[in-house]
């Protein structure tokens, strides 16, 4: 939408104030994310922009919090050195990757079933499968804490992986079902008539077409697990420290600027993931012949 040449003055004012308003909203959305980046290089132990920092005085800038994050403890580091950030990173990736694999496998197969025209009770089953995404995390965490403790799964990696898999599957189901809408079933018939068995048809015909959806679903599942803190807090123990759990602990107890360094890394990661998902979505739409939405 653009302003026509014949627009009157009030219309112009209205239009530009509308644009300004939108600009402010976008600023409100994005600015907070980028505020952590510069501050992670500050030498101040508090979350604030010091005078030295603002005047670009070298003493106001430092990489020491990054060193602390990767557990290199120099002389100048006064606070307690901990390997929790690095252990947290390893755990986050471990739990995230394993649960993503399980969630993607189960979710993709289920989406194939749900997209078939003969699926019975589709609405009900869909509602059940999506529910982990809708139910508040604190309720999920409470329920899982009660039930998993009966099975001895609390304070274990297995428990967390199962929990995160359950939380991640709705995303896979949603993205893959979305990719499957408009899927030409004649392709399957063609493959079968040419002698392809079920497996071959799946891997050679269906899979390449739905792959973008599968990957973006997997990325959603991964970021869900990677970002999740409530279930980790209640089902996991100190042993299963993850990045969000360590950040949570950091924010509640010792407010350390290492949190900002980790936050910066996470912002970089999210930009990477977002770019990948966007590129995949466009590729998928091109493959399925959907022109620019």
């Amino acid at each position: 939408m653009a302003l026509p040449v014949y627009a009157t003055t009030p219309q112009r004012i209205g239009y530009y104030s509308f644009l300004t308003y939108c600009g402010l909203v976008f600023f409100f959305l994005v600015a907070p994310i980028f505020i952590v980046l510069p501050l992670s290089f500050s030498s101040s132990p508090f979350f604030e922009f010091t005078r030295e920092f603002m005047t670009l005085d070298p003493s106001g800038w430092s990489l020491k919090w990054y060193k602390q994050m990767v557990n290199i403890c120099g002389v100048e580091v006064t606070t307690v050195c901990t390997d929790k950030w690095m252990r947290g990173t390893v755990n986050s990736f471990y739990i995230g990757i394993v649960s993503t694999f399980i969630a993607t496998g189960l979710g993709t197969v289920a989406a194939l079933g749900l997209s078939r025209p003969h699926m019975p009770f589709r609405a009900l089953i869909m509602a059940i499968l999506i529910s982990p995404m809708i139910v508040p995390l604190i309720i999920t965490a409470a329920g899982m804490f009660f039930f998993y403790s009966k099975l001895g799964l609390t304070h274990s990696y297995t428990g967390l992986i199962l929990a995160h898999t359950a939380l991640g599957t709705p995303f896979v189901v949603i993205t893959v079902t979305a990719t499957l809408t408009g899927f030409d079933n004649n392709l399957i018939r063609a493959s079968q008539s040419l002698g392809g068995d079920t497996m071959k048809t799946f891997f050679k015909v269906i899979m390449p077409l739905i792959l973008p959806g599968v990957i973006s679903g997997a990325l959603f599942a991964f970021i869900t697990s990677f970002d999740e803190v409530v279930v980790v807090l209640f089902v996991g123990s100190v042993e299963q420290v993850t990045i969000p759990r360590q950040m949570w602990a950091g924010l509640r107890q010792e407010i350390s600027p290492v949190i900002l360094c980790m936050a910066t890394c996470l912002v970089a990661l999210s930009i990477g993931l977002l770019t990948t998902v966007e590129l995949l979505r466009r590729r998928s739409e091109r493959l399925r012949g959907i022109k620019n939405r």
Partner: protein, 418 residues
Amino acid sequence: MSSETISGPILTSDGIPLKVSLKKAERINKIRAFLLVLPLLAFILITFIIPIGDMLSRSVDDRYINTVFPKTFEVYKKWDKKGLPSEEVFKTMFLEIGEAKGFKIGKASTRMNYSKSGWKSLIKKSQRKFKKIKEGPYKDKMIAVDKRWGDPIYWKALGEMVDPTTFGYYLNAVDLKYDSNKEIIAQPENRRIYIHTWIKTFKVSLLVTIFTLMLGYPIAYLLATLPLKYSNLLMICVLLPFWTSLLVRTVAWMIILQQKGVFNNLMVMAGLIADENRWKLMYNETGTIIVMTQILLPFMVLPLYSVMKTISPSYMKAALNLGASPLHAFWKVYMPNSIPGISAGGLLVFIIAIGYFITPELVGGKDGQMIGNWIAYHLKTTLNWGLCAALGSVLLAVMLVFYWLYNKIIGVENIKLG
């Protein structure tokens, strides 16, 4: 034209009626489709639905105390609730306190304390002193140990525990309780916290929904009407927060909103507020609302955008052509068309907001706590799991109503991600 009529049903080549054959094929297809969904369905049922069911059952479960005092409760049921119970009740109580293991009795007395505070200390004290009592009559000796054994209020409080199920926790979740005659009464003034929290939870969620709509509607409109090359770029601004860790965004807001934070510093520098009375934007309800609005904004923009994208721009042009003022045209033509998006976004934001826990916990302070925080508190700190489960179940029920509404109006399949 042949005059021959086919008698009986149409048959397939192998002699089975076509209808039957088709039905069979259909059934096989149904089973096949279902088998594909089955693994995930079973997985979700076991790892997610059953745990939630377990929580629901815990909210009414009162069996534990019945395993500690089975005999006492049996003889207790015969008591007419007038004066003190009989010697027999005292005796079984005495014996069962003696028999029970330390941690078992501790857990049981915690439960008893929920109905009448004082039980826990009474049991603890009695357990120690009862060892000296060798034989009856128990009634007088127990009262000699602690006067509270002679107080009918304590005995009457046991009345709500003799059944293996209780609604006591649900009553507590809405600031009610059983009195000593098992009638429902309001909690004393100083213990009424949940009704207030429920109202606050709804208030905050509603405000967040309204604010996200106010901020989200214009930018969704802009995104839907701009040429694609610009809107794709701006879309990234909406999606980036969506992909960024919740904790990162909360940290960022803590930097901005704290007393010596970016916002207050800028305001002081601009001379808009005095250095000594900086605004208190964090650790209160204001902080919770500001941060939740930013965090949930993408959930409003995305559904709005996908609906607005389907509204043809020619509608507006037609309205303008017919002489409507831009505002009038917007109000009468565009707005009604975008209502599905408003309801989708609004319900989604509201559903997510009522169950929020992390953000209120970090930036809410005492004043910004929502019901989720109380659930966590009882789960981890007080270990009053019955009340925790009851609060959770009420929240779940509220949430399910909105989820059902969402499903009815929009359909879960239409949730769009990115």
